[in-house]
Structure formats: structure tokens, C-alpha cells
Symmetry: none
Subunit: 163 residues, 2 copies
DNA sequence: TATGTATGAATGAATG
DNA sequence: CATTCATTCATACATA
């Protein structure tokens, strides 16, 4: 049969980056989702995949992702379309009519480049520890980090300096 | 105080609540992970953090989480060998036209900050052991950011088996 | 053709 | 340590 990937408007013959669920697959997936099987086990995933694969190319990864996305989407929609939440829920300038503000996203880096680039002369203080680190001593204690994994406390990177 | 994360351009960009490792940080982390150190101890975490913090905002928690995620992910792809093995007629699914392009390109101002750091990394004598991968193409451990989404059909779990 | 929207996919963080 | 959730990005896809 025709490649399910390029079955629609496709003109992409070189790259199948994103799995595109066929209507049939979508129908099945939605039905299963509707069953209440929110987070299917791996076994279920396999079974579902086995079913869907007959209707087009698909992998367990796709199925898994689909369910994850589906659930997340539903949830987000719920609390986003509600009347109004006077709770402590602060939305980061979220759902604007556009919503897709990621067009100019700057998620990563953007540190004090001019700064950290210059202090480069001292960038290898004790990194050699991993060269000789043969200490099988895992975690002497039980604490994973400095106290709890919530946050060290000293440097809170996620500082909602919103105001 | 000023958040190091958004202290760059000085715009009103919303601070990312999620830590995004800079290419440099990623390289270092990869190297350490590749050393076979596996799960670093608390002290190691601190050491690593001390090193990485010079290359951008980061906390011990981030480092810890990173290793945890990395470990889990590696394992996932490892245990993908049972009743699968359908066909692997996929071309080199690894090397994509572009690797971590998202890490280096999404804005238009291009501060070249990380770029400089990258260069500095190479020239660092002490960090030579972890600077061996100056060539992005020769990146040995970029399996996590490869672009082999999911069009396999023969893989098992929701993990992108990479081989 | 370019822009916008929808959704799959990647990853960091949280939880058990 | 294993699994799941939440957030964000990139790309498929629809429309102007």
C-alpha cells in the first residue's frame, strides 16, 4: 500500500521524521483512550501497536507518546478552559489567543556569555576526579543531594521572579 | 537579583523553569557518563556541578537528575532485544542532517556565547580528555538527541532504540 | 509561498 | 532506580 506517511499531502520522500497516525489508527487509539486505560502498560502498548501496525506503520514508541500527549492535552485543556482559577496558579503569560509563542523561544543557554567565556582559564579545577575516580562508594548516606532532591536551596534556578 | 538565566539579553524573556543544559555542559556530562562512572556520588555531583556551573546555570539537582535520566534511558534501549527484530532497513537513523540544531539555533541574534565557550573548551589542556569530541559530527554519545523519532515498527518499548 | 495551527517527540523534573 | 508527568520544540498539515 501507499506509504501511510506520505499518504496525505505528503511530498516528503526523504524523511519520515514524525509519525503520522492514520485515521484508522487514530480511531482505535481514541477508543482505547476512552476506555479509561489512561496509562497502558507496556504489554498493552505492545498489543495496541500490534493492532495499529496492521493499519499502518507505527511503533510502540508512537503509541506510548500518543497516550502521553493525549492525557496531557486533556488535562491542560480542562484547567485552562475552566471558568477561572483564583488559585495560586500563576500562568506564565500562557494561553493567549495565539498561545504559540514558541516562535521566538529562547529556551536554552543565554547565560552571561561574556562572563563565563572569559573565566575559561580556570575551568578545569578538579575534573580529574573522574579520571581516577574508582571509588565504588556510592552514596554513603541516603540523601541524593544536599538534603533533598527538591532543591539545594542555595541556588534556586527556577526562580519565578515574576511579580 | 538578576536571574543568570535571563541575564543575557536583558529582555523580558520568561525565565525557563526548566534547566536547559548548554552544549558545553552536555558535553561534559556526556564525557563523565561515558567514563563509566555511572552514578556519581554526592560528592561527585558537587564536583561536576562546580564545573558545569561555570558553563551556565546549573544545580546539583540538575546534574543528579540528568544522570538519573540518562541511566534510565540507556537501560531502556538496552532491553529492547526480545521478540522484536523485524527489519532494520532504516538507513543510518543516527546521523541526522542536523544534530542538536535546536541547541544552537533558534534565535536570530546569535550571541555566539556558547560558541566561544566551545572553542575555549577545546583549547583547555586540562579538559582535553573531555574535549576529544570537538567535532560535532564525531560526537560519540549524541544518541540521546538523535533524530530517530519513531518510524521503526520493530522497536519495543517507548524508547527509541538506537543500537 | 508563507504563516498559523495541531500534534508528535524530546527531555527535565516529580513520584513511587 | 523505574516509571510517569509536565513543558517545550519541531514538524506535519491546513489555510490565506
Amino acid at each position: 500500500y501507499c506509504d501511510p506517511l506520505m499518504a496525505s499531502a505528503g511530498h516528503k520522500i526523504t524523511a519520515r521524521q514524525r509519525w503520522t497516525p492514520t485515521p484508522v489508527q487514530l480511531q482505535i487509539l481514541e477508543r482505547i483512550f476512552d476506555q479509561g486505560t489512561g496509562t497502558p502498560s507496556k504489554q498493552n502498548i505492545k498489543e495496541i501497536t500490534s493492532e495499529l501496525i496492521q493499519h499502518g506503520q507505527i511503533s510502540e514508541t508512537n503509541v506510548y507518546n500518543w497516550f502521553q500527549n493525549r492525557r496531557a492535552r486533556s488535562k491542560r485543556k480542562q484547567l485552562g478552559s475552566s471558568s477561572n482559577n483564583a488559585e495560586s496558579e500563576q500562568e506564565t503569560e500562557v494561553e493567549s489567543p495565539n498561545e504559540k509563542k514558541n516562535l521566538l523561544s529562547q529556551q536554552n543557554h543565554a547565560p552571561s556569555a561574556e562572563d563565563l567565556c572569559f573565566q575559561n582559564l580556570e575551568i578545569s579545577p578538579e575534573l580529574h576526579f573522574l579520571s581516577v575516580m574508582s571509588n565504588p562508594n556510592a552514596y554513603d548516606g541516603d540523601e541524593h543531594l544536599s538534603g533533598k532532591m527538591g532543591m539545594p536551596g542555595n541556588y534556586n534556578i527556577y526562580d519565578q521572579a515574576e511579580d
